[in-house]
């Protein structure tokens, strides 16, 4: 049974306060200024989280970035990264290594192995989208002439939709657009933003666990 991850948002409480302030006699606007809306999130009681592992990670990244799983990442340009780090990523290899069940818990190299795949995949997507006459799958606005904040914002929203299958919250979008500004001094800020913003989202806890 998946844990209940329903967010408990106290908008109703906020709405009630607003309503009360507007209808109660004798309450001037100055006196009744409501506190900022507070949003709280219930925490899981069961906390049953699992690392996606190499197979799911690659499948999700390939889907999100419109790439073939086999082309996401090559160690030394030759060896599939997921295969190279198969055991670190929770895989099994019964034929040659006689490992029939996952090691059990993540190894010291798991975080790096996951990042390597994500970085390489994001960079490849960026290169494809920025290629001349390319039909961009993810970074179209940034690949077009004169990328700006508004375009970075559009890409930021798309990153969440493609990689996490949900809309980004305003707060998350603002973090990414701040990152865009942070990279403004780069020689090629659009390419840098595409690659490393993608990397950041693709390696969030939400992207790596289920």
């Amino acid at each position: 049974v998946r844990p209940n991850i329903m967010q408990i948002t106290l908008f109703t409480q906020f709405a009630a306060l607003v309503l009360a302030s507007s209808v109660l006699p004798g309450c001037s606007k100055k006196e009744a200024a409501p506190a900022p809306p507070s949003v709280s999130t219930a925490t899981s009681k069961n906390n049953r989280l699992k690392f996606k592992g190499g197979e799911r990670l690659v499948a999700d990244l390939a889907t999100g970035l419109s790439l073939e799983p086999s082309e996401l990442c090559k160690e030394l340009g030759l060896y599939d990264c997921k295969t190279a780090a198969n055991i670190s990523l929770g895989g099994v290899e019964p034929y040659l290594q006689t490992i029939y069940t996952p090691v059990g818990e993540r190894t010291a190299s798991t975080a790096n192995a996951a990042e390597r795949i994500a970085l390489s995949a994001c960079h490849l997507r960026m290169e494809r989208d920025f290629a001349p006459a390319a039909e961009a799958a993810l970074f179209a606005e940034l690949a077009a002439p004169a990328p700006d904040l508004a375009k970075a914002l559009a890409v930021s929203k798309r990153l969440y939709q493609k990689l996490l299958n949900r809309d980004a919250s305003p707060e998350e979008v603002s973090h990414l657009t701040a990152f865009w500004k942070e990279l403004s001094a780069e020689k090629e800020p659009a390419k840098a933003f595409a690659t490393y913003a993608c990397f950041a989202v693709a390696t969030t806890e939400e992207a790596l666990f289920f």
Binding site: Y79, E93, G104, R106, S120, L208, F209
Partner: protein
């Protein structure tokens, strides 16, 4: 190389946000943030070399000459000329076989050179074990039949000497119970083994970006990680909802240490391979370990022979201060090149490992034992040569502080069909173990073997005098190894075995 070059857990964790007095986090991660104590105890190193399948001592250092046995025609003993005594009472068997049974591959092996060169550090401990099931027996060979709360030798060495190194307990052989995890769950997590399935490519995953497209901007990687870990995470409902999940706690701990791995440049320091078409390192902004040429000279077949790549990485992990114990060994897989010669036999050097390793003795006992003992001795010799020529500190070499434990499942049955030159053997509890280290009273056998039955016998644990009526137990071997390694066994109930260790 001096001791100061070693990669300490203190240095390793210095870049991470260590909680004051943080104790070990739960779980079995090989690397954790731990509270550091400077006990000032320089490490000693243990290599468990798994002689998988049953390395029979009477086909090795306890070989029996036909002239010594009343039952020579039906006992597994050899022509007198094929059993030599190169050093002390350590014996060597010389064998030639035209094939490995149905495998068209000739075998010629003489153990004498190894004994002559390394015998002074070699101690043979005959013993009678408690299981003829491969997995169970392998596990018991590293736990002393669960002698101390089910802890393994490797865990205890890591516990004693590995507190300040990054990955103290390296499990380099896979699919073996020599690397099984002990049953004592109370140990700090750094003591448990880190599985390293591919010694050649594994170092790549000790860095999050180096050598990859997009990895040439570590500054931007750092900014992206900061964005992710400090901003996006705080804004993520997912991360808030599961904030208390053990899986996320472990993950965050791993991430906190990532950067330190990268700063230590282990992706380079542990890279065995040289720049080549197969491993185009330079093209991808990578490089070999500065020690790799020396390592490759001793392990020239590291690309095709799993045990060579394991041993090569073990050496680098020790000398770079990353590990204090490494478990390597033969697997049950048949490893061969497949290239044949004109006469149909497999090319010279074309067989790296036998199917089911020493257990191929079920098919051809003597040829299998000869091939596999040669493999074990060759691996040990190369490791000793490397460790001997690498300074630890103060004029001491790494070898001065290292033990190689040739662990095996069990022995093999002692009899043969009348005068059969080769034959099939089964599993036998009676056998023993081979140990190599300057920390041991080497150059001898503790106990002996009955030349009429092939059965080994034990010794007085204190004086080392052979006792024909006594069998050494797994627990006693386990205790003796820990004694010699200087591992504290206070409160363990393990026997003291002064006969094994140097004073």
């Amino acid at each position: 190389m001096s001791i100061s070059n070693r990669f300490s857990r203190r240095a390793f964790t210095s870049g991470a946000s260590i909680l004051a007095g943080a104790s070990v986090l739960g779980g079995g991660l090989g690397m954790q943030r731990v509270a550091l104590a400077q006990d000032g105890k320089p490490p000693k190193f243990l290599i468990v070399l798994g002689a998988t399948g049953g390395a029979s001592l009477i086909d090795g250092p306890l070989g029996i000459r036909m002239s010594e046995s009343k039952n020579a025609s039906t006992l597994n003993c050899y022509d007198d000329a094929n059993v030599t005594t190169p050093l002390g009472d350590l014996r060597a068997v010389k064998q030639t076989s035209e094939s490995l049974g149905p495998i068209p591959y000739p075998v010629t092996a003489d153990q004498a050179d190894f004994i002559r060169k390394y015998g002074s550090d070699m101690l043979v401990v005959p013993a009678t074990t408690t299981s003829v099931n491969h997995g169970v027996a392998q596990r018991r060979s590293v736990t002393g039949n669960e002698a101390w709360l089910g802890r393994t030798l490797q865990e205890l060495v890591a516990l004693e000497y590995g507190k300040s190194v990054a990955l103290p307990n390296a499990h380099l052989v896979t699919g073996s119970e020599f690397t099984s995890r002990g049953t004592d769950k109370s140990l700090p997590s750094y003591a448990y083994g880190e599985t390293i399935a591919d010694p050649i490519l594994w170092p790549l995953s000790l860095h999050g970006s180096k050598g990859l497209p997009g990895g040439d901007r570590p500054d931007l990687i750092a900014k992206a990680r900061l964005l992710r870990d400090q901003k996006l995470r705080q804004s993520s409902q997912f991360s808030r909802i599961f904030d208390g999940a053990p899986a996320l706690k472990q993950w965050r701990d791993l991430r906190a240490n990532q950067e330190a791995f990268e700063k230590a440049d282990l992706i380079t320091k542990l890279m065995i391979a040289s720049d080549s078409a197969k491993y185009p390192l330079a093209k991808n902004g990578l490089a070999s370990s500065p020690l790799s040429a020396k390592v490759r000279e001793k392990f020239p077949n590291f690309e095709s022979d799993p045990i060579e790549s394991q041993a090569a990485l073990a050496y680098l992990m020790f000398t770079q201060g990353v590990a204090v114990t490494a478990t390597l060994g033969a697997t049950f897989n048949f490893v061969y090149t497949g290239k044949t010669q004109k006469d149909g036999s497999l090319e010279a050097g074309g067989v790296k490992n036998l199917p089911i390793a020493f257990d191929y003795s079920h098919t051809v006992h003597r040829a299998a034992q000869a091939f596999m003992w040669a493999r074990m001795y060759q691996t040990a010799a190369s490791l000793i040569d490397l460790l001997k020529t690498t300074e630890f500190a103060g004029g001491q070499s790494y070898w001065d502080r290292t033990m190689i434990y040739i662990a095996t499942d069990f022995g093999r049955t002692k009899v043969r069909p009348e005068n059969a030159p080769d034959f099939s053997s089964g599993h036998d509890l009676n056998n023993g173990f081979v140990l190599l280290s300057p920390m041991l009273k080497g150059g001898k056998v503790l106990g002996g073997v009955n030349p009429d039955t092939g059965m080994t016998y034990g010794f007085d644990l204190t004086s080392g005098v052979p006792v024909k009526e006594r069998q050494t137990s797994e627990k006693e071997v386990f205790g003796g190894i820990l004694n010699a390694m200087g591992v504290s066994t206070t409160g363990s109930g393990l026997p003291d075995v002064p006969a094994m260790r140097k004073a």
